[in-house]
Subunit: 239 residues, 2 copies
């Protein structure tokens, strides 16, 4: 498929390239499929190393990783989730509330461990390269670390679910997170029965995957998009 | 390496797992190594499909992708970068300014194309699942799409660099981005001479990779961290 030497030399062989896409297309936000079983330290170490190799603005590496295993603490975190879920429910359109109530949205207690990935906003205060004009860039770098962790976990057969339904100040108090540190992601991590063929929210009828071609524009926002690229997108399906 | 059946069944074979780590550890923020050469539509389509398979809060898929090729427009984008860089320079510590001036921080004009990945904050207004308590979650989902694109590009032998040194309102005006849309990432995308063995900012002495074990905590922020996990981290190096 590569068409010239510059690409040939730097591209992965076909099998390796397919493996990367397999992780990307097969990754799931796991809530329902956790099964008992500890994660080996060696596996968790590789996942954290993958996270640590994310890009970061100005090479600031603003992340920390808090591993949470204690059952009582996790129960308190889950209580925060349940309270926030109750507050979120009335914000859903009327015809969505019944479905919302039925959705399983976290695996806090039944996963092998929880991981809070945080962002230290002061880590490179004296050299804010790339961040002075876009102060959120350190948060975005931390999200890149989360996505690396998630994809590596898929390859290791480990499920990850990101829970965002929390009151942040309450979560910070529970985990003793200082003011200048932001809890970017609260992850449930564990072995799984399976990786579902489709995202849960699609399978449950909450939403459908948008047609990608409709999201591609050219030159400016709203620009029509290139016909040949849109055709190529329509011809390309996840393997 | 897998130690029980649940992991065995869901983990990739060793070669495929290694390929995922190879993309993660070998990905670079490319600024200096772009070479001429168009990207095939089929390749770009796969990268966009990878981005589109990112996780998104409440399955909202808030992203759009603006492909920018026009040389005159790119020159104007680069002018915005140059202006923002001048404004950013005095914020660096005195002993960093000379080095900052020497760093190449973008490949806007010499890459094959630019890609602005945006976030539509209104896309799922009537069903803000997972976003009511953490309003930035839609931006974070968009960052996950960027990281998927970046890793898929590494596997395809395509370099990607994220430029964040812009005045956002000026960039929005130039790309005709409506108020409720946020330009999350401005990417330079193209063929490369090579993927450097180390991040540019490390090779140029701007920063060093932090020791991962020092970033791992247990139970609460600042919690000591598990000895066996830290030992496993220290025994694990990128392949």
């Amino acid at each position: 498929m590569p068409t010239d030497h510059a690409t040939d030399r730097n591209a992965f062989e076909d099998d390796a390239r397919e493996a990367v896409y397999r992780a990307i297309f097969g990754r799931r936000d796991v809530r329902s499929h956790f099964v008992p079983g500890a994660i080996d330290d060696a596996v968790l170490a590789r996942l954290l190393l993958a996270a640590h190799h994310a890009p970061s603005v100005g090479y600031m590496q603003p992340w920390d990783f808090v591993v949470i295993r204690d059952a009582a603490r996790r129960q308190k975190v889950r209580d925060l989730f349940l309270a926030a879920r109750q507050q979120e429910l009335p914000l859903m359109a009327d015809d969505r509330q019944a479905l919302y109530r039925m959705l399983k949205l976290e695996g806090i207690c039944e996963s092998a461990l929880n991981l809070c990935v945080t962002c230290d906003r002061r880590r490179a205060e004296n050299a804010p390269l790339g961040r002075s004009r876009n102060p959120d860039m350190d948060l975005f770098s931390t999200v890149c670390a989360v996505q690396n962790f998630w994809l590596a976990a898929r390859a290791e057969g480990i499920g990850v679910g990101w829970v965002s339904i929390f009151d942040t100040p309450a979560l910070k108090a529970l985990l003793k997170i200082p003011d200048h540190i932001v809890p970017v992601a609260y992850l449930c991590v564990g072995k799984v029965l399976e990786f579902a063929p489709r995202p849960d929210l699609e399978a449950r009828g909450w939403g459908q995957r948008l047609p990608l071609a409709s999201l591609i524009m050219s030159e400016v926002f709203g620009g029509e998009g290139e016909v040949s690229l849109k055709q190529a997108v329509e011809a390309t399906m996840p393997e």
